[in-house]
């Protein structure tokens, strides 16, 4: 396989990330570098990262070519529905997808042309809709093949309901213009085929991996979670943005059922998002406020500590393109219950799977893990072993193989 140089367009990067996209980019790029690929990673102006294994280019250093706006206006027309636009919608990210973000996305695309002309590379790799326009600009000015990497879709975020037309149009346009589409799960691939009408032959499934060094995290002193555990409580953890997509309300319903039978269970809701208020209200209404702890957004080692201290990790997502947190928990040896409506459930055996709406079964499985020590211990050991086999190297290899196929043409 030829050693390639990849011009990669990203949007966020740890520690300045608000979700799985940044984490995935870190894992993937590091593994690709280890496979011998050279990665030039482009980030928009508000993210500053220093890395030793790849070149990071900040888009802010480049002039904006005002080419895009006209193109954008035309591209939106084929996709306008009778319902029209949804202009100001709150998404799970902590900023609004209002005119500001749209402006950022277009501006980013404008800078891409200049960046592409300056660098030498064989393929363009764009992560999620925010960067597709930039990828397209880079392809237009250099003729190199474009690969779009679908980490999430508008369908996942909205459950098929109120699509944001601007976002959906870009997703569709990006996938159509690309030479190859990388989906992070069969689940996502099926959504792409069904809701975006993309040719299945153009899509390659590359499952995410997990960083293989959970012990590299320093223990936090005076960790409040440790104190709670020491007082004899069992910790049931949920982690992720507090949005409809993540199914945290199902987590709370399950918590109500579980707490009836496991009185010393405490439920941790780690994360922040637009549903925070509503969820606190729900916990109160269910009568379990005393058992639920809202920790807010966790960073870095706090996250690993949470996994490690928890007795059980629950991911009740309504629609999860992958679910990196599941692998992270498994790597720490904490048993997982995961929604079947997730990409990660396709590739793991040693986790308990449940339909997100089946609160009773979710509670049934949770109680079993909390009560039957042999099950907890065994799942813990087996899932840790399984996570060890799921590093990013496989994903990197698959991507590079896909790239090589188009480069050779």
């Amino acid at each position: 396989m030829k050693k390639l140089t990849v011009l990669m367009f990203g949007w966020e990067f740890p520690p300045f990330n608000s979700g799985g996209l940044g984490v995935a980019c870190l894992g993937l790029t590091r593994a690709m570098a280890q496979e011998g690929a050279k990665v030039i990673f482009v980030l928009p102006e508000h993210v500053q990262v220093e890395l030793d294994y790849m070149k990071v280019v900040l888009a802010k250093d480049f002039p904006v070519s005002p080419v895009k706006f006209k193109t954008i206006k035309t591209l939106l027309y084929p996709y306008v529905t009778e319902d029209g636009y949804f202009e100001k919608r709150m998404f799970e990210r902590d900023c609004a997808y209002g005119q500001d973000l749209q402006g950022e996305v277009l501006r980013y695309a404008g800078m891409a042309k200049a960046i592409a002309e300056k660098e030498k590379f064989a393929v363009i790799h764009a992560h999620d809709w925010l960067t597709y326009l930039a990828g397209i600009e880079a392809k237009k000015s250099t003729g190199k093949p474009l690969f779009v990497h679908v980490h999430a879709t508008e369908f996942d975020r909205t459950g098929g309901g109120n699509f944001n037309q601007f976002v959906y149009s870009i997703e569709k346009f990006g996938m159509e213009q690309a030479d190859g589409v990388i989906a992070i799960s069969e689940y996502t691939k099926n959504i792409i085929i069904q809701y975006y009408g993309i040719d299945p032959n153009k899509i390659r499934v590359v499952h995410n991996g997990v960083e293989q060094c959970p012990d590299c995290v320093e223990a936090i002193k005076n960790n409040p979670l440790e104190k709670i555990k020491d007082s004899g409580k069992l910790l049931v953890l949920s982690m992720g943005r507090l949005t409809l997509q993540k199914g945290v309300d199902y987590f709370l319903k399950m918590a109500k059922l579980v707490s009836k039978h496991v009185p010393n269970a405490v439920f941790i809701v780690a994360g922040s998002g637009d549903m925070e208020r509503a969820l606190m209200m729900q916990a109160a209404k269910l009568g379990i406020s005393g058992k639920v702890i809202f920790t807010g957004w966790l960073q870095g080692s706090e996250i690993q500590e949470a996994y490690r201290r928890a007795d059980l990790f629950v991911v009740p997502s309504v629609s999860e393109p992958f679910g990196l947190t599941v692998l992270e928990s498994m790597a720490q040896g904490t048993p997982v219950i995961v929604s079947k409506q997730s990409g990660v459930s396709e590739i793991i055996a040693h986790a308990l799977k449940v339909d997100f709406w089946d609160v009773e079964e979710m509670a049934n499985k949770a109680i079993a893990i909390l009560k039957y020590a042999a099950l907890n211990k065994h799942l813990s050991e087996e899932s840790q072993k399984e996570a060890k086999e799921l590093g990013w190297d496989k994903a990197a290899k698959k991507c590079l193989k896909f790239f090589n196929e188009k480069v050779e043409l």
Binding site: H261, A349, N364, A368, Y372, A374, L375, H378
Partner: protein, 416 residues
């Protein structure tokens, strides 16, 4: 002479339904799944009876009438007999017709197809005796030859069988035990005096049971002619060819369209074409052939999986936990003297429940998955443990009740 000895295992467990934690204390019916899944015992019994038991029994009856030299044997688990008695009496009648020919032997086993030998010798004996009584009642015969659940065997099993009066015992002809010896002779288990050991010829048995329809197999398609030739070629190198297999091979594991029924229909004729061959029941084999050597088998063997040991049921902590838990309840369960509780406890001992919890190669999806009616081994474990909790509650309620009933017998305070 090569004597072909057919032995068919016929068994259906009482599968435990998806019993949730919330059912504990409320629902004391563990085996009455009524869904469309493979946990529905009645549905499975119907299906297997129609696809396998009834048509194959009909063919065997035909063959027995056509060939007076044709003979075979079954072991029918107690839980299987219970299910057909209540749920499909026609199947029971067809087995009774076969036994009436006088050339179909019934073997002995534990009533509940359990691993009791590994945990409680008294329970083991009780289950064997119960099975013996059932067989006498339904077929008017007394089994002379024993086979333990899934052919689990070692020297101690043979000793116990001899103590209980059996003249023969069967198990798997495992390579690592046999070394250079052949499964086509009779052996004497070490530590016993009279009982004789018959060993399954797994190569020839599996040719029918597993490889029959595998197109990639070099010998596919397997005709009865070809097979009979293999049998005959053992002349001089063996006395008994023990073909032991799951009865569901015919029609269920190997579907009708593979030609398995035609194969069976023509097999006895082909075998008997060669004058030196005949058929024997296990008892006849024991009576006719001498023991050729002593076999020392200390560690347990079985006919399950590639390992042919106990790992199908006891290779991970959750299986061990479940097995320890259920057998730890023996004393208190029997003390309740409540027939429904005892019966439920015994139905929970069936080896299949633990087979479903096996995690070997779970990620690769293998034969365990084919046989597993649950979505994962963990689901099997959860249902089982929840059920045990409920059983425990029932036991406690009865035992507390009896303390109140007999206040003179112990100084315990009246709780009720």
């Amino acid at each position: 002479m090569a004597s072909v000895c057919f032995y068919f295992q016929v068994h259906q467990p009482y599968r435990i339904k998806k019993y949730k934690f919330f059912n504990i204390g409320q629902d004391h019916n563990y085996f009455n799944d009524a869904s469309d899944t493979s946990l529905n015992n009645a549905r499975i019994l119907d299906r297997v009876s129609i696809k396998s038991y009834l048509p194959t029994n009909a063919i065997l009856l035909e063959l027995l009438k056509k060939h007076p030299e044709f003979k075979l044997s079954f072991s029918l688990s107690g839980v299987f007999l219970d299910q057909i008695e209540k749920g499909f009496p026609e199947v029971l009648a067809s087995f009774q017709r076969l036994v009436k020919t006088g050339r179909v032997e019934i073997l002995s086993e534990t009533y509940y197809h359990s691993l009791a030998f590994l945990y409680s010798k008294t329970e083991f004996k009780a289950q064997v005796l119960k099975h013996r009584r059932k067989v006498k009642k339904l077929f008017n015969v007394v089994p002379q030859v024993f086979r333990n659940t899934e052919l689990i065997y070692n020297n101690d099993v043979a000793k116990m069988a001899e103590e209980m009066g059996f003249k023969g015992i069967i198990t798997e002809g495992v390579d690592r035990i046999l070394d250079w010896q052949s499964p086509n002779f009779l052996y004497s288990p070490q530590g016993t005096k009279k009982i004789k050991l018959l060993l399954k010829n797994y190569k020839l048995s599996d040719d029918i049971a597993f490889r029959f329809s595998e197109k990639s197999w070099s010998e596919h398609p397997l005709t009865s002619e070809k097979f009979s030739h293999w049998v005959t070629s053992h002349n001089g190198n063996g006395e008994v060819i023990n073909l032991f297999m799951d009865y569901e091979t015919f029609g269920e594991h190997q579907w009708e369209h593979t030609g398995i029924f035609d194969f069976l229909r023509s097999l006895p004729g082909e075998v008997l074409k060669h004058g030196q061959n005949d058929f024997v029941t296990p008892s006849e084999a024991v009576d006719r052939y001498p023991v050729r050597a002593e076999l020392n088998i200390e560690n347990f063997i079985s006919w399950a999986d590639e390992e042919r040991d106990l790992s199908a049921w006891r290779s991970n902590p959750i299986q061990e936990d479940a097995l320890n838990k259920i057998y730890s309840m023996e004393e208190s369960v029997l003390r309740t003297k409540d027939s429904k509780i005892i019966e439920d406890w015994r139905k929970l001992q069936t080896s299949d429940h633990f087979y479903y919890m096996c995690i070997k190669w779970f990620a690769d999806g293998d034969v365990h998955k084919y046989f597993n009616p649950y979505e994962s081994p963990y689901d099997a474990f959860i249902a089982f443990m929840n059920v045990l909790q409920d059983l425990e509650l029932r036991v406690e309620n009865i035992l507390r009740g009896s303390i109140a009933v007999n206040p003179i017998l112990n100084n315990a305070k009246q709780i009720i």
